[in-house]
């Protein structure tokens, strides 16, 4: 069946039923790739396992991070709601009754993550406050009518879930007429009807209220039209006594937007409280902590990959979701392209799998550049052993996995060290104590001695402390200066003087601090080597930063430009080799037409263009002198020109214009 026609644009292909039944499992595509190797199945399973774990971990993380926010929100809702029912004659309460309780939720610019937050928020509210939670988006509500329609239908769907289907059909028919009046009367009937049923229901927490409030979430406040919002707020404030409404605004920018959207007369009808969600940067840090800087997941990102992901995050979208997507892609790429990634699993499992390594896999290991480098460093007789003895190989493998634990933060090391040198004593102590704990808990054999050393240092500090007290009483100012964080600054200012004064009293503290720093330095140098220097780092570290960027943060304009400007980049033909900025005249037609059009300003005369094109193309052609007439040749060239021009139009470089006959307008300017 053909897929081109002048009468339709959609073509449906349905294979017959028998064939369709056998749908190909996903693993098969994994296996069929170009890197066929024996344990691709195992690799795919490992991928899925790790990805599932990572996914659930992130979801959990999100939940935890949102917990505080949600709790305070729920508290606010409950409080404001209780106002409805006090029914006191207090004047303040009366006033309050006219105000719609409103929570302004400031979520930050990472719009893509909002959906997830709102989803879990809805869930939390439904479990804790009220079954009537409705969220609306600006695109659903261009005007008041649609707004109410959408609100009604969603609201009714909220409570319909347990009831019969018939009712839901009725609801859709009711759509046509809805006003706030009908809404409040519906609300009355529903709350009264469900009142006796309530105890039976599972929502025990919501049963404490006779009539639960209706929570309306406006997901993207900024894009709502002012009029719709104003009208809705004014109307619903009139009905507030019979229709207890609570608003939640989702705000991506800043709270000022409320006042910009709503005039004072309207915003005074709201009782607004601000809630700030966790900043996305902090969110990212926790995600990194939990997913990458942990021993839980064997999969690691190399420095470059991580930088690309964080750069996309920081410079493009601030979106955690996209970051996770990048992580997923790199995980997939890793398992797909690296046959040895089968060993990328937790330690005990890896041990087991090593024992089943086949000849082929060992060969693969030998081929790894990092392993080769490692081998080259060994003595010659050892080299032979390494390359031949598989048993030996496996030991090295293990060693590698052991080491993985300590290799995370070598990048920021230099700056960290500098910071350490500046630290005041008490801060240093707390840090050391922390280190001590970490080393203790890791309970590695190699690290035992270091823990001991740190303990010693701590003791020394302790003793120093006592000595220090006496010194302090003598009231030396310079000492005091040193203790503050401003030490560094002061030092640069009073460089010479300071030096003279402190050199005399190079206190024991200073000396000791130096010692500690040096010790840590050596420690770090010993253990926190950059992963690239480790043998077999390829197993765990995904480093194909290039592919990742190509697929996540592609540059289609540049690709287009390169293809047009430098065809040799794609078509490796010697004839196309050229100086930069030039293009050989044998290049594809569209490249030549493109190059010529770069010379023009806003408008291009088609005749001139076509002649220039013909000039270049004829020069390139090696004519079989008599095979075709020159007239025909010209016609063909003209046809080629027409094709090139229509293609450039399709690509959006030019468009037809009526400013002048037989001219086209250029849509780009400058070099592009």
């Amino acid at each position: 069946m053909a897929t081109s026609s002048v009468s339709k644009g959609c073509f449906v292909f349905k294979p017959n039923f028998k064939k369709r039944k056998i749908s190909v499992p996903v693993e098969d595509y994994f296996n069929k790739g170009k890197n066929e190797s024996e344990d691709s199945k195992l690799r795919f399973e490992t991928y899925q396992l790790i990805w599932q774990q990572m996914k659930s971990e992130t979801e959990q993380l999100q939940e935890e991070l949102n917990k505080n926010l949600f709790n305070s929100l729920i508290e606010f809702l409950q409080q404001s709601y209780s106002g409805f029912h006090k029914n006191s004659r207090d004047w303040g309460c009366q006033i309050k009754l006219r105000e719609i309780p409103t929570a302004a939720l400031i979520l930050g610019v990472n719009v893509t993550d909002h959906d997830l937050t709102f989803r879990s928020l809805t869930e939390a509210l439904q479990n804790n406050v009220t079954p009537y939670v409705v969220s609306l988006q600006a695109k659903d509500c261009p005007d008041m009518k649609h707004f109410l329609q959408k609100l009604v239908s969603k609201l009714m769907n909220c409570c319909v879930d347990e009831e019969s289907k018939e009712e839901s059909i009725q609801v859709t028919q009711k759509k046509t007429f809805c006003s706030m009046d009908s809404l409040s009367s519906w609300y009355m009937s529903v709350t009264q009807k469900t009142d006796p049923k309530l105890p039976r229901k599972k929502r025990t927490s919501s049963s404490q209220w006779q009539s639960p409030p209706v929570v309306l979430i406006l997901k993207d406040l900024e894009s709502f039209t002012t009029k719709v919002l104003q009208d809705f707020i004014i109307i619903s404030s009139q009905h507030l006594h019979e229709f207890p409404l609570i608003l939640i605004f989702g705000i991506a920018t800043s709270p000022i937007i409320i006042h910009r959207l709503l005039p004072h007369a309207v915003s005074s009808l709201l009782c607004i409280e601000l809630f700030q969600s966790l900043s996305c940067k902090e969110h990212l840090t926790t995600v990194l902590d939990k997913l990458l800087l942990t021993t839980q997941f064997p999969f690691k990102l190399s420095e470059k990959v991580l930088q690309i992901l964080t750069n996309i995050f920081l410079y493009h979208d601030f979106s955690i979701q996209n970051f996770i997507k990048g992580l997923q892609l790199s995980l997939l790429e890793h398992f797909y392209s690296q046959p040895l990634s089968v060993l990328c699993c937790n330690l005990s499992e890896a041990k087991r799998r090593i024992n089943f390594l086949s000849e082929n896999q060992c060969e693969n290991i030998r081929r790894l550049p990092s392993f080769r480098r490692h081998v080259e460093k060994q003595a010659s007789e050892k080299q032979v052993a390494l390359l031949t003895n598989e048993r030996f190989l496996k030991i090295r493998e293990l060693y590698c996995t052991c080491l993985e634990k300590n290799i995370w933060d070598s990048e920021e090391y230099a700056s960290a060290l500098q910071l350490l040198r500046m630290l005041a004593k008490d801060e240093l102590m707390t840090i050391l104590q922390k280190c001590f704990k970490v080393f203790k808990s890791s309970s590695e054999k190699q690290l035992g001695s270091t823990a001991k050393r740190i303990e010693e240092f701590l003791a020394q500090f302790q003793s120093l402390d006592e000595a220090k007290e006496e010194e302090d009483t003598s009231g030396l100012q310079s000492k005091g200066l040193q203790k503050t964080d401003l030490y560094h600054l002061q030092k640069s200012l009073l460089e010479m003087k300071e030096l003279r004064r402190t050199s005399k009293k190079q206190t024991r503290f200073e000396a000791l601090r130096e010692k500690v720093v040096n010790f840590i330095d050596s420690l770090v140098r010993e253990y926190l080597l950059p992963p690239e220097t480790q043998p077999l780092h390829e197993v765990m570290y995904f480093s194909a930063a290039h592919t990742l960027r190509a697929h996540l943060n592609a540059a289609p304009r540049i690709a287009l430009h390169t293809a047009l400007n430098n065809p040799y980049y794609y078509l490796k033909n010697e004839a196309l080799k050229s100086e930069e900025g030039c293009i050989p005249n044998v290049a594809p037609d569209i490249c030549i037409a493109y190059k010529l059009h770069l010379e023009c300003s806003r408008l291009i005369n088609l005749v001139d263009w076509s002649e220039a094109f013909a000039t270049v193309v004829t020069a390139a052609e090696k004519m079989d002198a008599n095979s075709i007439t020159s007239e025909e040749r010209n016609e063909i060239i003209h046809a080629r020109f027409i094709r090139a021009v229509s293609e450039l139009e399709l690509l959006g470089f030019i468009k037809p214009t009526k400013q002048k006959t037989d001219h086209v307008a250029r849509l780009t300017w400058g070099g592009c």
């Binding site: 289609p556 050989p584 300003s601 229509s646």
Partner: protein, 581 residues
């Protein structure tokens, strides 16, 4: 063997590169542009990379490191730089750099210069043209060849003769002198051109004065390379913004007034175009085949990634239709899939949704709105997880689909777990269709598939430039409508058309007034009351055959201009649709 040779060549090139650099250093030092030097050197490094890339795998890695580092350091600081380091960007480093935009592209400039010179007597000059044209390849060839020679000389002076750098300096000085001279005259000729455009008559002089500098250039071609740096200095302040205003500020754009009518071959129709193009043997077919094979190896990976929840978008120069078609026939045979031709002028989201509901899901009902239909589809796919659907969209960025609403709907479809979308985009600014929200719906993985294949199918729907609108589509629909009408109604329409054709050359024609029209129809025994005529006109208007407007309180009836122009062009169609009674 080949690779060895290439290696050798490469080494030679390496030497050449150093020499070039040195030379440049000297030149630029003289000109005192310390910063420029840096930029220039970078450009050179880049050309170097392009040459090198294919041969060394290991070095490619290193380059990657370099590029990555650049990317990271520079991202967010300097647009120009970061773009330069984009995916395939070795050659793309000039995308947004304007320093040497117009004048370094000598060849194009030359071609356009040459093309502009034979101004008045086109038909005569056509024969002469080839003679002039020959200059071009010679120029570019001569350029590179002499460049090499020059550089070799340089090498010699560096390695063999151990000449002190002073000599080399002296060697260069005259060169750059001559260079600046040639540049000067060239820009002179540019000025000439600007004037000449207003005075089209005195072309001969211009030809002469332009030919000379261009020949000059052939001689001094190797050094032309140095000139952009001077230009650069001059243009240094002109950044992106200024460049824009420069291009758009002057309300008058000077271009020649020649029109296609004067040329014998003006517009071709689709059929002739195809016939002519079929005679052209495609060049670089081996390389293109290799490219395509490279992409075909990705098919399984695409499938895998589609199944894992990503969607795939293909970009890059050249039609990706054949590639997707091959993808479809190789891996999608056993699954339900829908192919959507975005370039089809009549495509709409509605028709896409219709084909899903009616043909894929076998649903016969109708929907109140597109959103309802979407909801229904979404629910259907959510309920039945065994349901799977592949969507292949050619040209997701086409005129008809690029609207915000369409993209939103397609994005929502593609975000479903069991709908897999693989699409292609071609337009330069296609990614602007998607904001963050839509991008997260689509969950794209980008794949660059530059194929260089002609966009035959995509540009075939009579909407492209220079292709004669044969008007077969509107005419056939007109025939359809007319067939369904009563003979009297047909007569009414014919009257209108006749009248309008008669008045075709009258520029002040504003249409046929209703009263006149009624009178004419009555005389021809076509209607008996003005109510009948009004009813008939309403029907025409509903079919968009005519439009009406009020001029001085009189209703004027105008037949749609495009129909008229179609009918004028196609005499046969005119006869067949309106001639018979």
């Amino acid at each position: 063997m080949m690779s060895k040779l290439e290696l050798k060549e490469d080494k030679m090139l390496e030497v050449q590169f150093v020499g070039d650099d040195d030379v440049l250093n000297h030149i630029l030092d003289r000109e005192g542009g310390a910063k420029l030097k840096k930029e220039r050197a970078q450009l050179l490094v880049n050309t170097k990379k392009i040459i090198k890339k294919p041969e060394y795998d290991l070095e490619e890695d290193d380059q990657e490191v370099l590029k990555d580092q650049n990317y990271v350091e520079v991202l967010g600081q300097d647009i120009q730089e970061s773009l330069k380091n984009g995916s395939a960007a070795d050659g793309g480093n000039k995308v947004y750099s304007f320093q040497n935009r117009k004048h370094s592209e000598k060849m194009a400039k030359l071609a356009s210069e040459l093309a502009k010179t034979p101004r008045k007597n086109v038909s005569v000059n056509l024969k002469n043209d080839p003679e002039i044209m020959i200059n071009i390849p010679q120029c570019s060839k001569g350029h590179s060849a002499s460049d090499k020679v020059q550089v070799k000389n340089n090498d010699k002076s560096e390695f063999l003769s151990t000449a002190p750098s002073g000599i080399r300096k002296r060697l260069i000085v005259p060169r750059s002198h001559s260079d600046s001279e040639s540049e000067y005259s060239a820009s002179n000729s540019e000025d000439d051109e600007g004037v000449a455009q207003e005075y089209e008559e005195d072309t001969n002089e211009v030809i002469l004065s332009q030919k000379i500098p261009s020949q000059n250039r052939v001689v001094s071609a190797p050094v032309c390379k140095g000139t952009p740096s001077k230009k650069m200095k001059r243009d240094k302040t002109s950044d992106l913004v200024e460049e824009y205003f420069e291009a758009h500020s002057s309300s008058k754009v000077l271009t020649s007034d020649r029109t296609l009518q004067k040329l014998k071959r003006a517009k071709l129709d689709q059929q002739t175009l195809r016939n002519l193009l079929s005679k052209v043997s495609p060049s670089f077919s081996a390389e293109l085949k290799q490219l395509n094979q490279q992409y075909e190896q990705l098919f399984h990976k695409w499938m895998l990634q589609l199944r894992l929840g990503f969607n795939i978008v293909l970009f890059g120069l050249g039609s990706k239709r054949d590639l997707l078609e091959r993808f479809r026939t190789t891996v999608l045979q056993d699954s339900i899939h829908v192919v959507i031709n975005g370039f089809f002028p009549g495509i709409s989201v509605k028709s896409i949704l219709n084909s899903i509901t009616e043909e894929v899901l076998d649903h016969m009902g109708t929907f109140r709105s597109v959103l309802d239909q979407l909801d229904w589809i979404v629910n259907k796919f959510k309920e039945d997880s065994s349901l799977e659907l592949f969507l292949l969209i050619h040209n997701l960025d086409s005129q008809m689909l690029r609207g915000d609403k369409s993209q939103q709907i397609i994005g929502q479809l593609s975000s479903l777990r069991n709908i897999y979308l693989i699409a292609s985009i071609d337009h330069l600014n296609a990614p602007l269709m998607w904001d963050h929200a839509k991008q997260s719906l689509y969950n794209w993985l980008w794949y660059e598939t530059t194929t260089y294949s002609p966009y035959t199918e995509e540009t075939s729907y009579e909407n492209s430039l220079l292709v004669k609108q044969s008007g077969s589509l509107p005419l056939s629909s007109l025939t359809h409508v007319l067939r369904s009408l009563t003979p009297n109604a047909r007569g009414i329409f014919r009257l209108l058309i006749k009248y309008q054709l008669d008045n075709q050359d009258n520029p002040s024609y504003i249409g046929l007034s209703f009263q006149d029209f009624y009178q004419q129809c009555r005389e021809a025994f076509l209607v008996n009351s003005d109510l009948t005529l009004r009813a008939q006109l309403t029907e025409f208007r509903d079919h968009k055959l005519i439009r009406t407007k009020k001029v001085r309180l009189l209703l004027q009836i105008i037949c749609q201009e495009y129909l008229i122009s179609c009918l004028v062009k196609d005499k046969y169609a005119f006869e067949s649709t309106l001639g018979n009674k």
